[in-house]
């Protein structure tokens, strides 16, 4: 899979219904994500970020409006994607390597020809030597890293990541952020990246969407003009501090400040 795809949401909203009970998760949202853009979403817990991602992936239907990925309107699960879910969602019955290769087997691709690549990626995220372990033998952060590799292995044109670094320690988190930027620069793809960490969003993205508390809407869209690769040094740039401050103040105003990702368990 090569090339990149645009993502467009036009008046896309979501209201969950169960019997008489309704939950308005997302108000109608309009976003245009350019092909190859790195698009980050930050917002307080429960504001509908995961819902937004699942709608883009075609895993749940929008209540109103339309979503397009590439040329086609999303009506069923989009397959030109790699998804990292908020929880790792590994297959208990497969080893680490088997979990990564499942992505290819399910797509009917020749898994064995991807095996060297899978081992390289696992090595890169610090899982060398764990290829033949089962998920129950891994820590939460290790599982999450397997899930990240699984989302990358087929080099999808669209990458949907729901707090992918949430379960990782700060160091691994920083490392994977750098790796992800490098990978994205080398293999262009459209990325929708959800995070609780304002720093992370600003350091990675071309644009950051700041969401309001539920029912979620895009409160502000910020364009991040920092030179790439941003690497480690970008944290020192005045432009970085300025944007982070802007977002932080926005959250402070709303009383939903979560300056650090709530999932950074250490």
């Amino acid at each position: 899979m090569t090339g990149t795809l645009p993502i467009r949401l036009a008046g896309a909203s979501k209201t969950f219904r169960r019997g008489a009970q309704t939950t308005e998760a997302l108000t109608p949202i309009d976003i245009e994500i350019a092909p190859g853009e790195f698009f980050a979403v930050v917002g307080p817990s429960g504001c509908g970020k995961s819902t937004l991602l699942r709608m883009i992936a075609g895993l749940i239907p929008a209540t109103s409006g339309t979503i397009t990925v590439g040329a086609g309107t999303v009506t069923k699960p989009v397959t030109e994607v790699g998804i990292v879910f908020q929880s790792p969602v590994l297959l208990d019955w497969r080893t680490v390597l088997g979990n990564v290769l499942a992505q290819l087997e399910l797509r009917g691709l020749d898994a064995t020809s991807y095996e060297p690549q899978a081992r390289r990626l696992l090595d890169a995220v610090g899982l060398k030597g764990f290829e033949d372990r089962y998920p129950f033998e891994l820590s939460g952060g290790m599982r999450q890293r397997v899930a990240i590799v699984r989302a990358l292995i087929h080099n999808p044109p669209v990458l949907l990541m729901d707090e992918p670094f949430g379960a990782l320690d700060a160091l691994t988190r920083e490392q994977l952020r750098l790796d992800l930027e490098a990978l994205w620069l080398a293999k262009p793809k459209t990325v929708v990246f959800i995070t609780h960490s304002i720093d992370e969003a600003v350091l990675l993205a071309d644009r950051v969407a700041v969401m309001s508390p539920r029912p979620g809407s895009i409160e502000r869209l910020l364009t991040i003009d920092l030179p790439r690769p941003r690497g480690i040094a970008a944290r020192q740039l005045p432009a970085f501090t300025k944007v982070v401050e802007e977002v932080t103040n926005l959250f402070l105003e709303r009383g939903v400040l979560q300056a650090t990702g709530k999932l950074s368990l250490g």
Binding site: T79, V89, L91, D92, W93, R94, E105
Partner: protein, 260 residues
């Protein structure tokens, strides 16, 4: 070596109980027709071995046959119930309702319908195995993690691939739970069926020995029956360990954790 240590203690305990039993019977001169000593049972077992072995073959085949039949029918049926709305809505509730009928109570009717041959035996074994298997199979298929399905659907895999690579493996732990319950029930089913009407098999021998107050022969037969039950149960467990090592290893880890 670890398995030796694992069975050494239970085995020691069994031997100790047998020794106490033997001693008590001799010491208090318990009459043989009430409670025979282990040595007397063993002597009886070797004396009647050809006949008991012949009965064991028959009962064993009934157990295996009924068990296999239950597997062969409950698996496809559960698949249908799990993936077909009509079967889930109409067929499954009926089956579940039928489950509460005490199978053993209607077993005599099978004799009227099918005679005292194989069919009435297989029917009862089948019924006792079938329901726990079906219920566990269905639960296994339905219990799949929704997010795993989300991942699988995002790959565009067709229904066939989804079934073999995702749905079936994810249901296996639950399916094996049903198999283990079925293995235990099958032995009961075969013996009860033979109690009700038969002219061969271990159940038939039990009735005959009991009628003649041959207590040590009764115990010898029960012993062989238990051995068959154990063999089937551990065969299922062995297959389970081969088929789903990730699950059994997990379970073993947890039980080790409890001990330490």
């Amino acid at each position: 070596m670890s398995w030796i240590r694992r069975i050494a203690q239970p085995l020691g305990l069994v031997l100790a109980v047998l020794a106490v039993w033997e001693l008590a019977v001799r010491l208090f001169e318990v009459p043989n027709y009430l409670l025979p000593a282990p040595t007397a049972i063993l002597a009886d077992l070797s004396r009647r071995w050809p006949r008991i072995l012949g009965g064991a073959w028959i009962t064993g085949l009934e157990i295996l046959g009924g068990f296999a039949l239950a597997v062969a029918i409950s698996l496809p049926l559960a698949t249908g119930i799990a993936f077909n709305a009509w079967m889930a809505r109409v067929v499954y509730p009926l089956i579940v309702a039928f489950q509460v009928v005490p199978k053993i109570a209607i077993a005599p009717i099978f004799v009227i319908w099918f005679g005292i041959g194989w069919i009435s035996k297989l029917t009862l074994v089948f019924l006792l195995c079938f329901f726990p298997m079906l219920v566990n199979n269905v639960a296994g298929f339905r219990g799949i993690n929704a997010e795993i399905m989300d991942f699988a659907r995002s790959t565009g895999a067709n229904a066939w691939r989804l079934f073999w690579r995702i749905r079936l493996p994810s249901a296996l732990p639950s399916i094996f739970t049903g198999l283990r319950i079925g293995a235990v029930n099958a032995v009961t089913g075969a013996v009860v069926a033979e109690f009700i009407a038969s002219d061969k098999g271990l159940g038939y021998l039990l009735l005959e020995y009991n009628g003649n107050l041959l207590a040590s022969a009764v115990f010898a037969t029960v012993f062989v029956l238990s051995a068959i039950g154990l063999a089937i149960y551990y065969a299922v467990e062995g297959i389970e360990r081969l088929a789903i090592p990730w699950h059994t290893a997990q379970r073993r880890n947890e039980s080790v954790g409890e001990q330490t």
